[in-house]
């Protein structure tokens, strides 16, 4: 009797487990560095999360944690997600790199996807976008549209991704306007509308009449609108924050990648990979051009975009010297990905010192 009930229990357990497996949706978690309402970086990641839900419906269950600081709390947040039965977790900011790897080691069955990092493991993939291709396009626009020949740039942290953006934008602007100057302010944060607005005001005071940013909120766009100068949407289109100020934008499209990766989980074909998609992959979008941009300039920028997609144009094509005058790329040579991923120098012509 005892044995029978034990058997029955075991059978019930096995059946139950089997049934649960079939019915259980794939649990996908997202960790954001800012609030989902930042209308920039985290907002776009969350849009992509919603796209995943729309794509897979009942087969997927998503959850997210927002405003998770990139410090000691990140690891707990990650472990909490891993422990509560998530199968795939997207960690969407550079500072989550080491916590992601630590937690991934402890949960070998959970898969992780870390944005913009460079460390991988059997269950950790990395992904990022070649935003510098977008920077090239808006750099062309900025160089032509500035009247004071001064472009303001709000930097977050002096990491390679941000430095790469500055260099790409500067080279493009310089190619159409030899007198152009870049003023760069580092705010040491990804998301702080107050600091971003202060930085925008400071840059405008120094004569900037076009502003670019590598931070997550539309604060600078709002200031640009107030002051009657130009700016670009960052991560998101941001048109509603500066209908007159916005010239164009670099838009992050994470949805295709997220849908693909979640799909791979479902088919069991998920593998640790390193993805670095550009405009051609659809991961980097260029927002529509404002009607303030003259037609010939719009055509030029569109041509540059098409050339990048076709692989005929690389934003880092020599001859390019480093800031200290030493040679980097010979004429016609293009930068390799390794150098781009570790870029820790300004190109020749940019004033000021890169914080080190």
């Amino acid at each position: 009797m005892k044995r029978l009930s034990l058997l029955a229990a075991a059978a019930a357990f096995a059946l139950g487990a089997g049934a649960a497996q079939a019915a259980d949706p794939l649990k996908v978690g997202f960790i954001y560095v800012g609030p989902v309402g930042d209308f920039g970086w985290s907002y776009e990641h969350d849009q992509a999360r919603q796209a995943v839900e729309a794509e897979y419906g009942d087969k997927v269950e998503t959850s997210y944690l927002e405003s998770v600081p990139e410090g000691p709390d990140a690891e707990r947040a990650l472990r909490q997600m891993a422990q509560s039965g998530h199968d795939l977790i997207f960690t969407t900011s550079f500072g989550y790199m080491n916590p992601t790897l630590k937690v991934a080691k402890q949960f070998p069955d959970v898969k992780f996807e870390h944005a913009t990092g460079y460390k991988r493991a059997a269950n950790v993939s990395t992904y990022g976008s070649r935003f510098y291709e977008g920077r090239h396009v808006i750099g062309l626009l900025a160089g032509e549209m500035t009247k004071t020949n001064t472009i303001g740039y709000i930097g977050s942290f002096p990491i390679p991704e941000v430095v790469r953006g500055i260099n790409a934008a500067y080279l493009a602007a310089k190619s159409v306007n030899p007198d152009v100057k870049f003023k760069i302010v580092w705010v040491n944060t990804w998301f702080d509308p107050g600091k971003e607005a202060d930085a925008a005001n400071a840059l405008i005071e120094q004569g900037a009449d076009v502003i670019m940013q590598h931070t997550d909120s539309p604060a600078a766009m709002t200031i640009a609108e107030e002051k009657g100068i130009f700016a670009f949407g960052q991560a998101s289109d941001m048109k509603q924050f500066g209908p007159n100020a916005r010239l164009s934008s670099i838009i992050d499209h994470w949805a295709p990648y997220y849908i693909e990766r979640v799909g791979a989980m479902m088919d069991g074909t998920w593998e640790s990979t390193d993805t670095w998609g550009g405009i051609d992959s659809g991961m980097v979008g260029i927002g529509e051009f404002s009607d303030k941009i003259p037609a010939d300039l719009a055509a030029k920028a569109t041509a540059a975009k098409e050339a990048i997609i076709a692989g005929e144009l690389h934003p880092f094509t020599g001859p390019i010297n480093k800031q200290d005058g030493s040679a980097w790329l010979a004429a016609g040579e293009t930068a390799d990905d390794g150098t781009l991923l570790g870029m820790n120098f300004y190109v020749e012509g940019i004033e000021g010192e890169l914080p080190k």
Binding site: S63, G71, P72, E75, R76, F157, I159
Partner: protein, 350 residues
């Protein structure tokens, strides 16, 4: 009576929190349970309470001592950062050297640096009568920039692609873990020791008496022969030292390296904790546990109830708001103003 205030404040926070959650369309009872009860029900969350509570408790105990004497060290966050830098740098200086002396050396360096950072406002107050609230607060930002400068410069990981972070500390420079498989580290024991020592100092030692006397009757303290400069220096050094130690623990414990995002506001939250604990070491211990609970539970609520992160911040802010409100009403009574009394008297006469 003094303890009724914090308890009532917690109760009011829960009630208004439930209203807030209900307005946001979440089940209020379930949310409160997730925040205050669920973290206590599994080992992982319990261990995380220790991780989160340790720095809060260490810092708040030190602050409570100073606050008792009317020495307002608002810059514990800065002392925490400087402690992390000094402790971390000491560990990195002997990178890959094994030895049980490495961690004690790091702790000493961290505590000394935190104390030294806190002595700057102390000396400025004594010598130039500068307000220590402002000076210590402003030094927080200086410390934060130092951390950024160092991890993008001399302390940067040479193999880190120029990303702003130090090497990951080697094993001898990493705090031993208390409970296997968690992040709870031996710093929790240090925090407990600090609570006990602070209690002895405050209740059983003349130093504590001088602190309380200065806080309640500075003139009487001076007549009794206590030197204000000494009390200020000592209070700042002790609170700064403990904050510095907490910083070293944080770097050598849960984080394991120096990164710009290391400080997450423990130094500021500890001020709330100190007042919530009624500036009493035992109270501080309980208050840091409660505060840690709202953080861990808050994350759980975000995950399970899809509550926005800002709602949790509002919830935590309410706690301080009600606490301060309770303090006002426990010390003062609402009374009609003289003008109104006069009007009433006139009205009565007419």
């Amino acid at each position: 009576m003094t303890w009724a205030g914090p308890l009532l404040a917690v109760a009011l926070t829960m009630i208004f929190g439930m209203i807030l959650f209900a307005v946001l369309g979440k089940d209020p009872v379930r949310t409160i349970l997730i925040i205050f009860w669920e973290p206590l029900t599994n080992d992982f969350s319990r261990s995380e309470l220790l991780v989160k509570g340790t720095p809060l408790c260490l810092i708040a105990v030190g602050l409570a001592l100073g606050f008792r004497a009317g020495v307002w060290n608002i810059g514990a966050e800065g002392q925490f950062i400087v402690g992390a830098i000094a402790g971390g740098a000491a560990g990195l200086a002997v990178y890959d050297t094994a030895g049980i002396w490495v961690l004690p050396m790091m702790c000493l360096a961290g505590a000394a640096a935190g104390a030294a950072w806190a002595l700057i406002p102390a000396i400025l107050r004594i010598r130039f009568n500068a307000n220590e609230i402002l000076v210590s607060l402003m030094l927080v930002y200086v410390a934060g920039l130092w951390l950024s400068a160092l991890v993008t410069g001399p302390l940067r990981d040479p193999d880190g692609f120029n990303f702003p972070e130090s090497r990951i500390f080697h094993d001898s420079a990493t705090l031993p873990i208390l409970i296997e498989g968690t992040r709870a580290h031996v710093g929790a024991l240090a925090a407990l020791a600090a609570v006990v020592l602070a209690w002895i100092a405050l209740e059983r030692h003349e130093y504590g008496f001088s602190l309380k006397l200065f806080g309640q009757a500075p003139r009487a303290a001076r007549f009794a022969g206590y030197r204000e400069a000494r009390v200020v220096m000592l209070s700042m050094a002790v609170s700064g030292g403990l904050a510095g130690l907490a910083g070293t623990f944080e770097a050598a414990g849960p984080v394991g390296q120096l990164v710009p995002a290391l400080p997450v506001g423990y130094g500021f939250t500890a001020i709330i904790v100190a007042f919530l604990g009624r500036l009493h070491p035992g109270g501080v211990l309980l208050a840091s546990a409660l505060m840690a609970l709202t953080y861990i539970g808050g994350e759980g609520a975000q995950l399970e109830m899809r509550l926005p992160a800002a709602a949790i911040s509002v919830f935590q802010g309410m706690l301080l708001f009600f606490l301060l409100g309770m303090d006002v009403f426990s010390r003062y009574r609402l009374a009609p103003s003289k003008a109104r009394l006069a009007r009433r008297a006139q009205g009565g006469a007419a």
